[in-house]
Amino acid sequence: MERAAGDPGICSTRVSEILAKYSRRPDALVSILHDVQKEAGYVSEKAMTEIASELDIPVSKVYGVATFYTLFSTRPKGRYIVRVCENAPCHVRGARAVVEALERELGIPMGGTTSDGRFTLEYTSCLGVCGVAPAIMINEAVYGNLTPERVPLILKEYK
């Protein structure tokens, strides 16, 4: 899913609708954050405050949960999040060279976002496709059997 750059987050009505979908149950917090993250690309401070007040729990709790899980982000990121696996099975099959190729192609270090707001590059833990290691994931699409040579070809699809 592509999002507009500089997305201000998510409007209060949508947050309210998402909360309603889960009957405002505090135990659904992880699912709620999933929905907000999916729609806005990140979980903004404003969204966290709204969730907290509507679920009647402290904001610190929402923040604590949102920052615990790596699939949630509390800051806006690039439109395409490139997640690279460097766990052992991928490492053994040459993930290091793939990381270097990605950094080179995008002109940013690990953890960085391109200045046009298009790509964010980060690490992920094992994606569970180690049979085709090394692997990366761009938003929800996974790519396996990667080589440094394939990196520019894949990125081209998103440029």
Partner: protein, 536 residues
């Protein structure tokens, strides 16, 4: 049922999806139709067929011919040559043995395998409950509900000797009996499909290939312990697993196999999916429970154990996907049947995921107790590129590394720990002799440093220190005494960490220091990396 001359199975597991199996399937269906063969040839999209690194993979029955790396452009040839003229398309069979044709029944695919957990995987269309039922699906549940008392079900699982396949190897029947005995108005069954152990993707492929077997296993567990509600906690990244499982739940509800009054017996059981959000520690059962309750996934202090005080404080059974997939066949065929495979202490099979420097990567199911040598050289086809075997890590990143001297150790939950390792989730990472021990050790430690939840000090500090020391050694700055320090730290973490993460983080490094000490030594004392990896 209609009769087809040929069945073409197209693997629809995630690794094959990545390589474009959907396009191949669509092209096959279209081409079969164009040739007017749709009454003779049936194209079925299945779960994982096993050799995931050769995707997209298809198998044509009745011959059992396995085609690999199939492209849309190959489809006309397959239909024309194979399905019309009965001739194998030689260029798609890969490295063929004497006979010239690769068969799915060969050792490296199905030969030495024994399929209990994967009985339907790669055989049926996972999105069709009818196909599951046609292969005895939900019969075990029916038998439990109509012919057995809950206590009989637990007794049968106990007798089977099944131990949990999530890593801790706790006897499943015993676990159920604790929850069955606990008095409470509400109990839960949780299926642990968080699968974060690097190198493991079996649960993903079981869910993708045979989701109903998990639902049936959970319902049987629910009947046995008196629970009417279940949750499957699936990794958020497992998009296809979540989709197929969701479909399966709807189908089962529609046929009355989940929901109120199952088989008209008064037993009710329903299942909900919960998505994980990227935290390895959430695979730990109490962290998983915290996460379902909407909290940070930090492990709880045990006891109390989930069996008596779990989700929302209620008695809760937590079982791994593979454990649950074993349940229906055990109840259908009996404990004795199950015990005929595997070892005395560890009956049954084990699903392994083969990764790393090995010819045939992918998913296999073999009798428990098989040796590493048979898996690596017979099923895995050995080490590619003319290289030698250096070591295998069993059980994922939290397991130990075994050198070639230990290739003949039988792999089960009790024997591997005797050698400092673990069977764990069943991940097998094979490494050839080009790899540097210290470099690999650093990779393992980086993982734990990142995944430690930080709740307890020994693990939070310990994982960071272990990483620092190994990193220092890799950079050529190791000091005398560092290796001993690693061991001391590891021992302290194993003794004092709150959960299994901190307790098992030192396991890989301990075994590496035990079996490959000279390589560490060379880095520290001679500033030398024997494989030339570390650039010191």
């Amino acid at each position: 049922m209609e009769f087809y001359r040929s069945h073409v199975l197209v693997c629809g597991g995630t690794p094959c999806v990545l390589e474009g199996c959907k396009g191949v399937r669509d092209a096959l269906v279209a081409e079969v139709q164009r040739r007017g063969l749709e009454r003779e040839v049936k194209v079925v999209e299945t779960g994982c067929l096993g050799p995931c690194d050769l995707g997209p993979v298809i198998v044509v029955y009745p011959e059992g011919t396995l085609y690999q790396k199939v492209r849309v452009s190959d489809v006309p040839d397959i239909v024309e040559e194979h399905l019309l003229k009965g001739r194998v398309v030689a260029r798609l069979v890969g490295e063929a043995p004497q006979a010239g044709v690769v068969k799915y029944e060969e050792p490296k695919y199905l030969g030495v395998q024994e399929r209990i957990v994967l009985r339907n995987c790669g055989v049926i269309d996972p999105e069709s409950i009818e196909e599951y039922i046609a292969r005895d699906g939900y019969r075990a549940l029916a038998r439990c509900l109509t012919e057995m008392k809950p206590a009989d079900v637990i007794e049968a699982v106990k007798k089977s000797g099944l131990v949990g396949r999530g890593g801790a190897a706790f006897p499943t029947g015993l676990k159920w009996s604790f929850t069955a005995k606990a008095g409470a108005d509400q109990k839960y069954i949780l299926c642990n499909a968080d699968e974060g152990e690097p190198g493991t993707f079996k649960d993903r492929l079981i869910l993708e290939g045979d989701p109903h077997s998990i639902l049936e296993g959970m319902a049987i567990a629910g009947y046995a312990v008196g629970a009417d509600k279940g949750f499957v906690y699936v990794r958020g990244e497992y998009v296809l697993s979540i989709e197929r499982l969701g479909k399966a739940i709807e189908q089962a509800r529609a046929l009355g196999l989940l929901g109120q009054n199952v088989f008209g017996t008064g037993f009710s059981f329903d299942v909900e999916i919960r998505k994980g959000a990227g935290a390895y520690v959430c695979g730990e059962e109490t962290a998983l429970i915290e996460s379902i309750e909407g909290k940070r996934g930090e492990p709880r202090v045990k006891p109390p154990y989930p069996g008596t005080e779990g989700l929302f404080g209620k008695p809760t059974v937590v079982n791994n996907v593979e454990t649950l997939a074993n349940i229906p066949p055990i109840l259908l065929n009996g404990p004795e049947w199950f015990r005929r495979v595997g070892t005395e202490r560890c009956p049954g099979t084990k699903v392994f995921t083969l990764t790393g420097d090995i010819k045939n990567k992918g998913l296999i199911e073999v009798p428990m107790g098989i040796t590493l040598r048979r898996v690596v050289f017979e099923i895995g086809g050995g080490i590619p590129g003319g290289r030698g075997f250096k070591m295998a890590q069993t059980g994922g990143t939290s397991g130990g590394c075994l050198p070639k001297e230990l290739l003949d150790v039988p792999m089960d939950y009790f024997t591997l720990p005797e050698h400092g390792s673990a069977l764990g989730s069943g991940a097998l990472l094979i490494m050839d002799d080009s790899h540097c021990i210290v470099d690999i050790a650093r990779c393992f430690m980086e993982f734990f440093k990142h995944e430690s939840c930080g709740k307890c000090t020994p693990c939070r500090e310990g994982t960071a220190r272990l990483y620092e020391i190994v990193d220092k050694i890799a950079r050529g700055d190791g000091q005398p005494g560092d290796l001993e320090l690693l061991e001391e730290l590891g021992a302290a973490m194993q003794a004092t960490s709150l959960c299994g993460l901190g307790q098992s983080a030192p396991v890989p490094i301990k075994t590496m220091l035990k079996y490959f000490r000279d390589e560490f030594h060379a880095h520290v004392h001679e500033r030398l990396c024997p494989t030339g990896t570390c650039g010191i």
